[in-house]
Amino acid sequence: MTMSRQGVQPTEVIDRAAKLRFRWNGKRFSGFEGDTIASALAASGEQIFSRSMKYHRPRGILTADYWDPNLMVQVGDDPNVRAGHRLLESGMDVRSQNAWPSLNRDIKAVNGLLGRFLTAGFYYKTFMRPQWLWPTYERVLATFAPGGKIDLDTPHAYHDKRYTHPDVVVAGAGPAGIEAALAASSAGASVMLVSHEHSVGGHLRYSSAAADQAALAELRTALDASDVEVLTDSTVTGRYEDNWLGIVQRNHPVAVERLIKARAKTLVAAPGLIERPYVFEGNDRPGVITSGAARRLVNLWGVKPGERAVVFSANAEGDAAVADLERVGTEIAAVIDGRTGGSISSTRGSSRAVDAVVADGASIGADLLVVAAGWTAPTSLLNMAGDRPVYDPAAARFFPSDPPSNVLATGGLAGDADLDGLRQHGAATGRLAASRAAAVRHRLQARTARALPVDGDEPAWAPDERAPLGRDPHPELYRADTHGMVDMSEDISSKDLVAAAHEGYDSVELAKRYTTATMGPSQGKLETVNTVAAIAEARGETISEVGTTVWRPPYAPVTLGALAGRMFEPVRVSSIHPWHEANNVSVIQAGQWLRPDHYGDPAAEVRNVRRNVGLIDVTPLGKLDLRGPDVPKLLSLLYVNKWMKLGVGRVRYGMMCAEDGVVLDDGVTGRLGEDHYMMSTTSSGAGGVWEWVENWLQTERPDWQVHVTPVTTAYASINVAGPKSRELMSRVCAGVDLDAEAFPYMTVRQATVAGVAGCFMWRIGFTGELSFELHAPAGHGLRVWEALMDSGSDLGVAPFGLEAQRIMRLEKGHFIVGQDTDGLTLGPSTGTGSLIKLDKDDFAGKPELAWAADRSLPLVVAIQPDDPDVVPEEAAQIVRGDTNEILGRITSSRYSPTLNRSICLGQVEPDLAAGGTKVTVLLESGERIGATVIDHHAHFDPAGERLRG
């Protein structure tokens, strides 16, 4: 086979005045604007584009489009580029993949000789045992992997996302798809027409027939004049519930790719048909191409595919290829007609010869074998909508069965007709799609209570009165009397599939997974039906009986970049954050929040809080403003302890359990006024507790009068902690008596702080020190923080971060929900079981907690390693002696700068929970250390004298 550029073709899409230079495996090449990488290389006489995955057989052009499995190349740092689709650009550095050391002389081609070892299930059989050889297997497999090279230094590129709500999306821009888009648009629908190709027109683009070209020009003119939004080089990759569509737009002017999420009211599936390769010995040799490839090469890019061709034709497309080839001077050695029983058995010849051996054993000399053996209906979008297409043996392809009524098929997917027939069906489909979209639009708007009212009744759901398309008879041509490649991406032959079937993998879904047929870059578009046919043959059944695989998203492969795209996840910071950033903060991400972790030395921060006074920004602490006469009842229902008698100005700690008795959240709630309470939650629980509260109020107790307002971000929260905190607060507070008698531990007061009115603060002590947790209107948070810093410089005031707070709470033995508890930790396990008041009439989780009271449960305990310098890892297991019997685990551990030793919290079996119990901790290193359970949770100041001061 020798391809070459010929004279100007009337249908060509190249601009011969615009020459583009590029490199192919380091050598200089040139092509024209409008060329694909493959057409430019073919025009320059290149015939081998890749090596096959397992056998490293040379591979050339097969289909010359997006689906061509043999044309995967590397462009610069971009692997797995489809050279059959990607447009040539000036300066491209194109390299072949999977061809070491070079494309034309491939050492691994020796695999071909080992073919009998690389049979069906090769990977499963070869790389299973012994398991300890896995690292070796991985290295071997990696050298076989067909992908390109990933450059980890590639700069991040911009991928975009777009959300849109068109009435009608038409997937596929052949004549039927274009007519559907035009008709829907004329009927008043907003329409998006998505073309997989670089220009609209479908198969008309590479037809040299004058009538086809006239129709194409007419359709393009009509599109230009319409309101249809046309996306070219874009693919509808997935259809999900209620016509939620993923569309990848590859030719966005700014972004590398854009992922469009479209909520279409109706979807028109018009993807056309994909030409199916024929299975025979040598069908994967360079020089064996589909009729569509021949026609595209000639008509789009003016490339003569070969000098002397044998054409195996079973349809009009094959016949048209003969005419196209003759026009560019390819000698037609023979036309074998598949409709009248003609067949191809194999190809012979070395190097560029592709001699065709026909059924009677005769060999016809040629350098090109063009095959038109039939069509695959890419029913993917219908499959994704729940349809199970059915096979028609008379037409030798699958047809839609019963897709949902908001998904309409047209074009070759739906049936056959002449061009006018296809256009009429497309237009009728477009009108139906627009009518049904109008009904959906009416319904959506009518169901939206606050939207503008809609006029009149919902339009009737239009019946499908389209005249159905016909079905052209087509011979069932899947495999000749020889075996050949079924899946060229994965190097799976029909023989492999027969072997798999005989080994018991005789359902298509099993055989697919066992052999990996259809799982390569072509996504089954070329291979699926041939795979089904091979299995059917092995089972002695028909294709209908065997059935096909269910095509799942994506329709075409999607890059990770397109999926990752631009993220819309918000980042939350407190109003004090600028101060942290200006003061050497190390931030830690906690959910959506960026929080100060430390300011250089967490241990020093701990010591300063214990000695002087420190400030921590705890704004993410969840805060719910609760108002109404029934708040005490709500609190009693949600917390395990009692709340009916909390006085105004008082604060109480509470623990929440879910209905299964598992600890859900904890925090303090204070009573600010007669009917006014402020509930605090853990930072991570803020959202969940709010929903929990709403759930109870809305569904179980709708008669209770309680207003819930989340005010987490309405207040900036600052914990002022340390023995000098009262002195510091006295310098900035007005309107409140800070004296220990007037404002004791576990009370709340409202105050003006640093001139900011509307602040409230409560005396609680997570750190174990005298402390004031101050909540200031968020807009003034920074001002309050700076006032505290400025006023306390002589007191040694310094900021502290989450890490210091975590150390101090661990010194005090306060458990953290989700850290020291998990999804199985029942309320009594926290060691605060006395909090649970089973004599209350009702509260969340009460029955489980009542039953748990009689059970022996794991307990949260404080543990100290015998070696004070060893800090066991969090999640290190507590085991029995030298055995691996698990008796508990370390849930929190730190080195305490206050006690100069390691300290832990852990969960242990109840018989280990008594103070003084010796336990064994198994470290990650495998070392076992001794540790001792201590009497109470607090490693430091167990009597709590410091915080009550």
Binding site: Y240, E241, D242, W244, R263, L444, Q445, R447, T448, A449, R450, A451, E659, D660, E691, E694, N695, Q698, T699, E700, P702, D841, D842, F843, K846, P847, E848, W851
Partner: protein
């Protein structure tokens, strides 16, 4: 992605809502047997067909509502009306 008809906000992407699962009545916590309580906690009918279930319009109106959905076809019916005092879980 499923469109869920919130009675207040109209049809919304299901990611705007939190799925509350099958509707089930809460037994009396003082008289429920362990079997009854655990059926309430864990056992669901999970029918292939019509199911009354709860949704929380987390990114919209913040209302819990209950609605019937056909789990085989994802069709919804009888959305409660806005302002329905007990539009929540049954």
């Amino acid at each position: 992605m499923l469109l869920v008809p919130c009675p207040n906000c109209g049809p919304r992407n299901s990611t705007d809502l939190r799925y509350g699962g099958e509707s089930h009545a809460r037994p009396d916590p003082n008289t429920a047997s362990p079997a009854e309580w655990r059926a309430y906690l864990y056992l669901r009918d999970n029918p292939a067909g019509w199911l009354r279930e709860n949704w929380y319009c987390a990114s919209g109106c913040r209302r819990w509502f209950s609605i019937e959905r056909n789990t085989a076809t994802n069709e919804f019916r009888d959305p409660p009306l806005p302002g329905d005092k007990r539009g929540g879980a049954a």
